[in-house]
């Protein structure tokens, strides 16, 4: 008799835990999209740096439209995963901040809605619009671009080098410990930082359409790609490109004046200036004769596919976030060249921003197609092996075959 009673109680209790679960799930109702009341309501996910810069525009928008905007501050590294999980569950935001290379996956998951910029398209930098274009549709409102360029220590090298060999020559003449540095990883090199050299041979990862978007046709292993691989092997043997010089070590070396040149992005400018280095930003010297075009990453705002406040969200994105003042405020918060041409021109009074922007304008948008994810897996390891002295041609060809197999699944 007792036994039966006890087990019945336990079964009831086990079910009881659902109560706690329900508590967990109903606790997150604060950032659900709600049906509009009077002026409507928008939920926007931003990271903490951008949230400061958006306070003013949010206040203006609320005043002019009578709506409410909830800025939800999210941790930068979690935004993508949270968005991917929250939107299908129906408690995602109306708008989220994000990087353009998520676009392919977001579209494939059906999480984002196209944004009709109308005639405003022409007011943005081409590379920014290209980056947010997928299958001929624009999916986000860009606000900043970022890319690597050649950062030069003016006291060690007075002129910008014309090409790679001249840069090495100048570096040797400067008598510093390293002729030039670029941050790599011992096991995975760093395809992102080495990509400008790759493009200077005329090679790209995927075929590019006329409008700058990428097809899923792999072009990495063409003749130009092989030339780059051969060159990479030579540099590895000559020791000009050192795998063991990690990001941190290369930055330290440059900031300590041990190298006149470093390939890096705007994220390292503040530290170098704080270390007392007198810097200039130049185009990346070509190794293969063509223009060295780095990857350009673009940050922007996405509109959720399940937003029920699309008109209000559109209004906020296109006519508020897409204005010069807001883009300039975002530039001041993040120190990246703005995506809106007018704001970029205003920010270009700073020669460093101008330098990165000029290189970026020549750059190639980072492919946002989902297939790009399959490339990273193999690309860096192959580059590291070539630098370590494996046969460039066969390593590069095998890498391309592996990538293709991985894409074909």
């Amino acid at each position: 008799m007792m036994v039966i009673r006890k087990s019945a109680a336990i079964a009831a209790l086990a079910a009881g835990s659902i109560l706690v679960l329900a508590g967990c799930s109903s606790g997150s109702s604060s950032d659900e999209t709600t049906a509009p009341v009077d002026g409507g309501e928008l939920t926007v996910w931003v990271d903490s740096d951008r949230a400061e810069a958006l306070q003013d525009v949010v206040a203006t928008f609320e005043e002019e439209t009578g709506s409410t905007v909830n800025l939800v501050i999210k941790d930068n590294s979690k935004i993508r995963d949270d968005f991917t999980q929250a939107v299908p569950a129906g408690n995602g935001p109306d708008i989220t901040i994000g990087a353009h290379d998520w676009l392919g996956s977001l579209v494939q998951d059906g999480l984002v809605a196209p944004l009709e910029l109308g005639d405003k398209v022409s007011e943005f930098e081409d590379v920014a619009i290209q980056a947010f274009t997928y299958d001929g549709q624009v999916y986000g409102l860009p606000y900043a671009t970022e890319n690597v360029a050649l950062m030069r220590n003016v006291d060690l090298a007075a002129e910008a080098p014309a090409d790679f060999d001249e840069m090495i020559q100048m570096g040797n003449d400067a008598g510093t410990q390293y002729a030039f540095v670029v941050g790599l990883d011992p096991a995975n090199a760093d395809p992102y930082h080495l990509y400008p050299f790759q493009t200077s041979f005329g090679n790209s990862v995927f075929e590019q359409n006329a409008d700058g978007s990428y097809t899923s046709t792999l072009t990495i292993a063409d003749a130009a790609g092989q030339d780059f691989a051969t060159w990479l092997g030579e540099q590895g043997a000559a020791g000009t490109i050192n795998l063991n010089l990690t990001q941190d070590l290369s930055k330290e070396a440059f900031n300590a004046g041990e190298s006149p040149f470093i390939i890096t992005g705007p994220w390292n400018v503040a530290d170098s200036q704080a270390a007392g280095i007198n810097i200039a930003v130049d185009p990346i010297p070509s190794a293969g004769g063509d223009t060295a075009r780095p990857f350009v990453g673009v940050q922007g705002f996405y509109l959720s596919a399940k937003s029920e406040n699309t008109i209000l969200a559109n209004e906020f994105m296109v006519n508020y976030l897409g204005t010069e003042d807001v883009q300039y405020a975002l530039y001041e918060a993040g120190n990246r060249p703005p995506a809106l041409t007018a704001a970029y021109e205003a920010a270009s009074s700073d020669p460093i921003i101008e330098g990165f922007g000029a290189v970026g304008a020549e750059g190639a948008p980072m492919p946002s197609i989902p297939e790009m994810g399959n490339v990273w897996e193999f690309w860096g390891v192959a580059e590291a092996n070539i630098i370590n002295g494996q046969d460039p041609e066969s390593t590069w060809t095998k890498m391309a075959d592996d990538i293709q197999a991985s894409i074909d699944g």
Binding site: M2, R5, K6, A9, I10, A12, L13, A14, A15, G16, S17, I18, L19, V20, L21, A22, S26, S29, D38, G39, G40, T65, G66, S67, P88, W102, S105, V107, Q108, D109, G110, P114, E116, G118, G136, Q137, P186, A187, N188, N244, L245, T246, D248, A305, K306, E308, N309, T310, I311, L312, P370, E371, M372, G373, N374, V375, E377, F378, V381, S406
Partner: protein, 541 residues
């Protein structure tokens, strides 16, 4: 555990009367506990009940009837248990059971459920969402088409677009299923039509109040749907769109109007054409044992699978063995009564245990750097050893780092176990003429194992899935030169699963869950055998 019995041992009494008496006694006992206890109980239950009622309302409002019903049942059960005298075991067990269910059993059950679905990239929601997203994505603005200045007007609850033709400047009006037609006497503000007779013009707040309906409004340009339709995204401008996907809810098909290909729902969680091409996004469906079949038949994994499995076992066993030997050795040394300032040494010993292993692994990765690392540069005077790039050295490095991370734990538990061994056993051994080594091997060590063996097994289980260390220190590298996917010499099973299920930007939670279950079975089997073996030791006491 036995329940608080209410049976009265006296047989000759009428059982019902005995029951009544026992219940009365129980009530009296409970009341005797004092009014403060009762008050606390009532307050706590009140809080729980209030929260549950709120939760039930929220759940009912969002149509989650099943979960709502379960919450209601559980709340009733909780009240019953705590208000009724007796049921003492249940009173103690309830909170623990609830948390056990939420944080353990539910998670396990959910993982099992996911293992039988195709949940992952491109399949993350229901069919309705997928259809919605596909239609959104397939609407494209007609290239070079003009923008129509627009006013939203309303008539008997339906919305219409009052637009001004950018070429001719005349006013046109149209609604859902109602192609554009000229309006005779529209009011103009400048060159933009702002009102039409018989219609109410909406201001911005009016538009926002009805934005869902207005955003969905598509007005055909002409009677021919292929000419496209006008849509507005901001309520003040419309553009000409064409959609190249058509959703037929009756036939349950998606048709690409440009190519004419028909995509059907064939139960695989995505619209599929006759030639097998799928269009994404799809939706979540259950796929039976597909994920398990893929886990065992995955071509990519098959090659390195044996090597990875062997290394996983070697890594887990060697990690436990090395940390245990070092920890035990230090524990014995520092247990010696002749040792001075033991306290301070012990604090230093435990330091590696106090650092987060994530951080330690990254620091070690830097120290192992071939050209600039502390180990090559300082300890070995500028040697050029590829610690993390050579297959065997990388394995060795991982074991060294794990030894550094893991020995403090073993040191702690061994110290505790040593101190619980009575001294007189040692004395007895010595009297019988055994040497120090013999006393340790034959007396102390078996006694230690009695209490430490379960901890060694749990340490094995932990290291078997020690993803953090592998991921942070070597990332699984160096890679197998012949593997078609990114699997390396130091990958253990869990990191291999991670790389297989989350290749690039593709996340396949179904496959990952299936793998997790397989790994769980392996670890459970090993642990079970281990515990069976340690039963033998328990006879020592």
């Amino acid at each position: 555990m036995t329940g608080a019995t209410t049976e009265d041992p006296k047989q000759q009494e009428d059982p019902r009367a005995a029951k009544r008496r026992a219940r009365a006694q129980a009530y009296a006992e409970a009341a005797g506990a004092g009014w403060k206890v009762w008050l606390a109980k009532i307050v706590m239950l009140g809080i729980i009940d209030a929260a549950s009622v709120y939760a039930i309302f929220v759940l009912a409002a969002s149509g989650e009837w099943l979960v709502g019903a379960i919450v209601a049942l559980v709340t009733i059960a909780v009240n019953y248990i705590y208000l009724r005298p007796g049921l003492l075991p249940a009173k103690y067990l309830t909170p623990g059971l609830i948390f056990l269910f939420v944080f353990q059993i539910f998670v396990v059950l959910y993982t099992v459920y996911i293992a039988f679905t195709n949940y992952g990239s491109g399949h993350n929601s229901d069919k309705e969402d997928a259809v919605n997203a596909l239609l959104l994505q397939s609407q494209t603005r007609v290239e070079e088409s003009a923008a129509y200045p627009t006013t939203i007007v309303e008539n008997f609850g339906s919305f219409f677009l009052l637009v001004t033709d950018p070429d001719t400047g005349e006013a046109l009006i149209g609604g859902e299923e109602q192609p554009l037609e000229p309006v005779a006497d529209a009011e103009f503000d400048g060159s933009k039509a702002v009102a039409a007779p018989g219609y109410t013009s909406l201001d911005f707040s009016g538009i926002i109040a009805n934005q869902g309906a207005i955003a969905d409004l598509s007005v055909p340009l002409t009677d021919d749907p292929n000419d496209g339709y006008l849509k507005t995204t901001d309520g003040s401008t419309s553009y000409v769109f064409i959609s190249n996907m058509e959703w037929d809810p009756v036939a349950d098909t998606m048709t690409n109007k440009t190519t004419g290909v028909v995509y059907r729902d064939i139960g695989t969680g995505a619209f599929t054409a006759d030639d097998g091409t799928e269009i994404l996004p799809g939706w979540v469906v259950t796929v039976g044992f597909d994920n398990f079949a893929r886990a065992f038949t995955n071509q990519d994994i098959r090659g390195p699978f044996i090597a990875v499995t062997l290394w996983t076992f070697a890594f887990a066993i060697l990690s436990v063995a090395t940390t245990f030997i070092l920890g035990l050795f230090l524990a014995i040394v520092f247990n010696d009564p002749r040792m001075r300032s033991k306290k301070y040494y012990r604090i230093i010993m435990i330091l590696p245990y106090a650092f987060p292993s994530f951080l330690s692994a990254l620091v070690w990765a830097g120290m192992f750097n071939q050209d600039f690392g502390y180990i090559n540069q300082v300890l070995l005077g500028g040697a050029d050893i590829a610690w993390l790039q050579d297959p065997w050295l990388a394995k060795f490095s991982i074991l060294v780092v794990n030894l550094w991370l893991g020995y403090p734990y073993m040191f702690l538990v061994a110290t505790g176990a040593l101190q619980s061994i009575p001294e007189d056993i040692q004395e007895a051994g010595k009297v019988d003429g055994a040497g120090v080594w013999q006393v340790f091997r034959l007396i102390k060590f078996p006694l230690l194992l009695v209490s430490l063996a379960p901890l060694l097994i749990s340490s094995f289980a932990f290291n078997f899935n020690n993803f953090n260390l592998i991921y942070m220190l070597t990332g699984g590298g160096p890679r197998f030169p012949d593997a078609p996917i990114n699997i390396g010499q130091t990958d253990i099973m869990i990191s291999m699963v991670y790389k297989t299920a989350f290749v690039g930007s593709m996340r396949d939670y179904g496959l990952a869950s299936a793998f997790s279950i397989i790994i769980f079975i392996i670890v459970a089997a090993v642990s079970y055998i281990g515990f069976r073996q340690t039963k033998v030791l328990e006879d020592l006491n």
